[in-house]
């Protein structure tokens, strides 16, 4: 295996190029910039299109147009930039186009900061734009997984004519790890039938997100919902650690997930029967897996770098059968494994009841830590 020591942002960029990316449109923003910088040199080298737009609004609408041709296209950005793209993503979703978006999330809200964060879970998994639609959201926890999921994102986008978002954070974007890049895929020459190509004599193809007639819009929405059901049935992904005999379950994704892995190992060394579930597809979320684990576990701990957003999905799946604790850090603060270990030990002391709201309990503790200033 030919391992390279490679930075997350660069690894994703090269993975996209090797997946047969034909065009890239974007606008620089930290902590994602190395991705755009890398493709700005790489794409012209391969005689493919790179364009730095005048803004994120421009970029996402260029992606919209490029996707209509049925060729592989993408953009990447970070939180404030992805907010600007939401209108376009809603249009793209309604038009049923395959598009890959990489979001290297940073601390917010507002302009916030450039530190690692998971604060955009809700925006990503609920469809951050207007109207009812879903997008597939994949959350890598390592550089290798970022490469593999970027490759997968293009396949899923085409299979379901859907937006697929690779949801990273500043930590994953900036860190280097040994990883193996996949072989080059040839650029697809087979163009899907729905694409608009301006082929003379073929008859009119229309790709649009305008349905003036409400029943026509409703019909589109039913089709989108049905396709989402299919995605929910087929595309749930996760990784479990030490689950067999686990009495306590930690749930965390991406960077918070791998930090939790260190804490779970340390807790195991102390004799605590703890396991970790790391959701990889955040949408569709592994509800059934969490639900099954609720039969086995005594209690749950959800760890996130936000104010408890995936927490709501875990609560849905656990359905008040077992107590849930929450530990989150916000605004670009990254938790340490030692802090998560402390939370695991608290959970295992067995004091937590079903009646307590995990977010209220967590926030009360945070307020004590921060004092009256918070």
């Amino acid at each position: 295996m030919a391992l390279e020591l490679i930075k997350g942002n660069v690894a994703v960029a090269e993975a996209a190029v090797r997946a047969g990316l034909v065009s890239y449109f974007g606008y620089p923003i930290t902590p994602q910039t190395e991705l755009l910088e890398y493709v700005s040199a790489r794409m012209p080298e391969l005689n493919r299109a790179f364009l730095q737009a005048e803004s994120e609004l421009g970029a996402i609408n260029m992606v919209y147009g490029a996707a209509c041709t049925g060729r592989r296209t993408m953009t990447s950005s970070s939180s404030p930039g992805v907010s600007l793209m939401q209108e376009g993503l809603s249009y793209i979703s309604c038009t049923e186009l395959p598009v890959v978006v990489v979001d290297v999330v940073r601390g917010g809200p507002g302009l916030g900061n450039i530190a690692p964060s998971q604060a955009d879970y809700n925006q990503a998994t609920r469809g951050g734009g207007h109207g009812e639609y879903h997008q597939i959201v994949l959350a890598p926890a390592s550089v290798q997984e970022a490469i593999d999921l970027t490759t997968l994102a293009f396949d899923l986008a085409e299979k379901y004519r859907s937006v697929v978002m690779v949801l990273m954070d500043g930590s994953l974007g900036q860190m280097m790890e040994p990883a193996e890049l996949p072989p080059f895929q040839p650029i697809k020459t087979e163009i899907p039938d729905w694409a608009v190509r301006g082929i003379p004599g073929r008859g009119k193809h229309v790709l649009t997100s305008i349905n003036i007639d409400p029943p026509a819009q409703e019909r589109t929405n039913i089709r989108l919902m049905t396709r989402w059901q299919e995605i929910e049935a087929n595309e749930v992904r996760y990784k479990g650690y030490y689950l067999e005999d686990a009495e306590y379950l930690v749930v965390g994704y991406g960077t918070a997930g791998r930090i939790s892995l260190s804490a779970v190992r340390a807790a195991r060394e102390k004799g605590l029967k703890v396991g970790l579930l790391r959701p990889i597809s955040l949408a569709p979320f592994p509800y059934e897996v969490v639900s099954d684990l609720a039969e086995q576990a005594k209690a749950f701990l959800v760890v996130e770098m936000n104010n408890g957003q995936m927490l709501e999905d875990v609560r849905l799946a656990v359905a008040n059968r077992k107590p849930i604790a929450f530990y989150g850090r916000m605004g670009g603060t990254v938790p340490f494994a030692d802090d998560v270990l402390q939370e695991i030990e608290d959970l295992a002391s067995g004091q937590l009841g079903l009646e307590e709201n995990p977010r209220d309990r967590w926030l009360a503790k945070m307020r004590v830590e921060f004092g009256t200033g918070a």
Partner: protein, 179 residues
């Protein structure tokens, strides 16, 4: 087994690069490794640090509260990290850039004038490699030879002329032992 190393100094002292050399060597030796930089609105002369985690199994957190080893290339780094080193861990201090002795007695402390040693070799900028050599001689993560190999294999062609000097720097640093 897992070892975490924080390499910290002023921007321009080569802390991020030293971490990358360590990470390349670990990778080539078949270890799991992560290299995580401080990043932000930094500038030359500001602070720069990176955390390198080397392990035999899948690495969880790429950052740690209590690292096993710290290379402090300047005084602010010594002040910031001395108290955080795990008991029994190792602190390598660049005597050229600090004006005090470390206070911890429950860790191994290596003190060496890395800048002066690097000057003797011919380039003050090799102080980062001197520090790295001292670390490897005092904690059991990788042999110095693994780093020498990594320098040869992963240095860009146009910079190959500096490899021999960097190897010398590693070896000179490796002569220092914790008191």
């Amino acid at each position: 087994m897992q070892t975490e190393v924080i390499i910290s100094g002023f921007g321009g002292q080569g802390t991020l690069y030293a971490g990358q050399v360590l990470a390349y060597a670990a990778m080539d030796e078949g270890k799991q490794v992560t290299w995580f930089p401080s990043y932000g609105p930094e500038m030359r002369g500001g602070t720069a640090n990176c955390t390198v985690v080397i392990s035999d199994e899948e690495i969880g957190s790429p950052t740690v509260k209590y690292p096993k080893a710290v290379l402090a290339l300047n005084l602010p780094s010594l002040d910031k990290y001395e108290d955080m080193i795990a008991p029994g861990g190792c602190l390598v201090v660049n005597e050229s850039m600090v004006n005090r002795k470390p206070e911890r007695t429950d860790i191994r402390v290596v003190i060496l004038p890395a800048n002066e040693i690097a000057q003797e070799i011919g380039n003050e900028r090799a102080a980062n490699m001197v520090m790295l050599g001292a670390l490897l001689a005092n904690i059991d993560i990788l042999p110095i030879e693994a780093l020498e190999k990594a320098l040869k294999n992963h240095t860009a062609q146009r910079l190959q002329k500096f490899v021999e000097m960097n190897i010398q720097a590693l070896r000179r640093g490796g002569e220092y032992r914790a008191a």
